[in-house]
């Protein structure tokens, strides 16, 4: 009953205006996912880019400080973030520490992603005992006291980058495995797989060259989101004392050092590195979430 006046640029005679299109759910979803992705990229970029450039930027020495300059609050004397108890510039320590943390995070995610996707697709495709074993492992891992086991393993093998990477990878492989498994379960029933079987392709070939590329996009989004978790886990381990050793800074280590001090008013040692971690993780999560909005087919539609 309402006769909307058609805009001049429209297909004449329709009610659908560009304005209406812009307000539609699909367009809004697209717009919001873009906002999220941009916001996420900015947040993460603000952290990642300086960290990557830490060797190149004109920063002060993160390892040797001058005792006379100990515990200066932020914005004094050319120290943007202040100094720690040994007189070392906090900004520099945070950026250099970020390199260690990011390195561990990326490596761990690569390893856990690889393991998870492989295990999940094998379990999803073959079913049977492989599926049982993988599912049982997934379930068992969920009920383990994870942090304790990680601490124990680090205590056992020593806190080196390799060990911590592996430990975080083990903590994280369930996520990609589960997702991959359920995706593969769905893909398996599709006609092209049956066709491939009929053509005599080996099952592993089917998995590797047909199925995985189809689900890779969705699985990779999950893996990407794991990066944030890996960084969080690494800082938690450092905080509890199981991180990479002195005098190289790690984010969790800096916070742990500052633990005793915040009560006497030196709040920056604890809040600023945490803020950096939070910013990075929020950025990665936002970006990944926006990405997932783009990539996912809604549940109702599938």
């Amino acid at each position: 009953m309402t006769t909307a006046t058609a805009q001049s640029t429209d297909i004449p005679g329709t009610v659908v205006t560009p304005a209406r299109l812009r307000r539609s759910a699909a367009a809004r979803r697209h717009r919001y996912s873009r906002i999220k992705m941009w916001l996420g990229a900015v947040c993460a970029g603000v952290v990642i880019i300086p960290v990557l450039l830490a060797q190149v930027l004109p920063l002060q020495d993160p390892v040797n400080g001058s005792l006379a300059q100990a515990l200066l609050p932020p914005m004094t004397d050319g120290h943007l973030f202040g100094t720690d108890a040994n007189g070392r510039d906090l900004l520099s320590r945070v950026l250099h520490g970020g390199q260690t943390s990011l390195l561990i995070g990326c490596l761990a995610v690569l390893v856990s992603g690889a393991i998870g996707i492989v295990a999940g697709s094998l379990a999803g495709y073959y079913g049977g005992w492989i599926d049982t074993v993988v599912s049982r492992l997934l379930e068992a891992q969920m009920s383990l006291p994870l942090l304790l086991m990680l601490l124990l393993v680090v205590a056992l093998f020593g806190p080196s980058i390799l060990v911590i990477t592996l430990v975080i990878a083990i903590a994280q492989w369930p996520e990609p495995a589960r997702i991959t498994r359920s995706l593969v379960l769905v893909e398996r029933e599709k006609p092209y797989v049956a066709a491939a079987r009929v053509l005599g392709l080996h099952r592993l070939t089917i998995i590797g060259r047909l199925i995985i590329p189809n689900i890779l996009q969705q699985a990779l989004v999950v893996v990407f989101l794991l990066l944030a978790q890996a960084v969080l886990l690494e800082s938690a381990l450092s905080f509890l004392g199981a991180g990479v050793q002195r005098p190289y800074p790690t984010w969790g280590g800096i916070i742990s050092d500052g633990r005793q001090l915040f009560i006497t008013g030196q709040w920056w040692l604890v809040t600023i590195p945490g803020l950096v971690i939070a910013l990075l993780v929020i950025g990665v999560n936002l970006f990944g979430d926006g990405l997932r909005d783009r990539v996912r087919r809604t549940k109702a539609a599938s």
Binding site: S135, P145, L148, M149, L156, F262, A300
Partner: protein
């Protein structure tokens, strides 16, 4: 409603429960075994931690003997197992009391924290998630969406410290550690809850969005069912299952995972106990803690699984559990 065979009767269900119980016992056993072995392989000398300062070889040997650490590994494990059947998990090196007793003394504090966190989470996250689903793809929801992503991204120890700095040090509303009055419960619960609310509300939103888009909702709407009923009695009822499962899983995970919060707030619970015990290599105490928390977590998960048929009559235990 016609009553068919009760969804809980029948050989299927019984065998399912038995199977799950068996799996629980097996998982617990394997976990304990792993912890047992790892502890004894780790470098570090427990005797040194309980010896007088600068101990001589003799003194260390005497302590090792007292703790039973001088025996071969298999022997130690056998002793441990046979004691376990009598309900004795060993005597804590540090406290000189039955390790199980020490753990059970502190377990209620951890449970209090976990329960408080779950209750707060449920109360806030569920309505929030539903609201986000109803307002999906609108600007306010975008804000809430970003806020929840932020909520699940912040490191929990950092949140704890920030809250401490603001409320305990600067405003002095709360004590920063220990558990002397109920007031101290607030900050640790808030720290845990922020993360959990973010996760659960997003889960609720995801499920609700999917359900609200389903055809039967459209049909019901066209029949004139009011929106509120559609939201709560129809869509939410169907979303309840994964949400309850998630809440149950989160609770079980919390029993294992409030370690960091307990350390930051010096909560007299099991998490702080075990971190300390690990540093001192108090083997019996670590083993007892792992045993108790693993069993508790598995039991909670089993309970959640058993509650399933109540929530969704379509589910039959023992089938399609993949």
């Amino acid at each position: 409603m016609t009553c068919g065979p009760s969804r809980w009767s029948g050989p299927d269900t019984v065998s399912y429960v038995l199977k799950r119980l068996g799996q629980t016992v097996l998982t617990a056993f394997l976990t304990i075994l792993t912890v047992f072995v790892l502890l004894r392989l780790a470098p570090g000398d427990p005797a040194y931690n309980y010896a007088p300062p600068n101990p001589s070889t003799e003194q260390l040997e005497a302590i090792r003997k007292q703790f039973g650490l001088d025996q071969p590994l298999l022997q130690q494990f056998w002793t441990f197992l046979s004691n376990l059947f009598h309900g004795d998990v060993g005597t804590s090196f540090q406290f000189k009391q039955p390790a199980l007793q020490v753990v059970m003394d502190r377990l209620p504090y951890t449970i209090t924290l976990a329960i408080a966190a779950i209750v707060v989470t449920t109360i806030i996250a569920v309505p929030l998630g539903v609201w986000m689903a109803r307002r999906n793809n609108t600007a306010p929801e975008l804000g809430a969406n970003i806020a929840t992503i932020a909520g699940q991204s912040m490191p929990d120890f950092w949140i704890g410290f920030v809250l401490l700095i603001i409320f305990a040090v600067n405003l002095s509303w709360f004590q920063p550690s220990g558990f002397a009055t109920w007031g101290e419960l607030v900050l640790p619960t808030a720290t845990i809850a922020i993360l959990q609310i973010a996760l659960i509300s997003r889960l609720v939103r995801r499920e609700m969005v999917a359900n609200l888009a389903a055809p039967y909702i459209t049909v019901a709407r066209s029949r004139g069912v009011p929106e509120r009923d559609l939201t709560w009695k129809y869509a939410f009822a169907n979303s309840a299952i994964p949400v309850v499962t998630a809440l149950g899983t989160r609770f079980a995970a919390m029993l294992n995972g409030v370690v960091i919060v307990e350390v930051v707030f010096k909560w007299p619970g099991v998490g702080a106990l075990v971190v300390d015990a690990l540093q001192r290599r108090d083997f019996p105490l670590i083993q007892a803690t792992v045993l108790v928390t693993v069993i508790l977590a598995l039991v909670v998960q089993l309970a959640v699984d058993l509650v399933y048929p109540i929530l969704d009559p379509r589910v039959r235990l023992g089938e399609a559990s993949s």
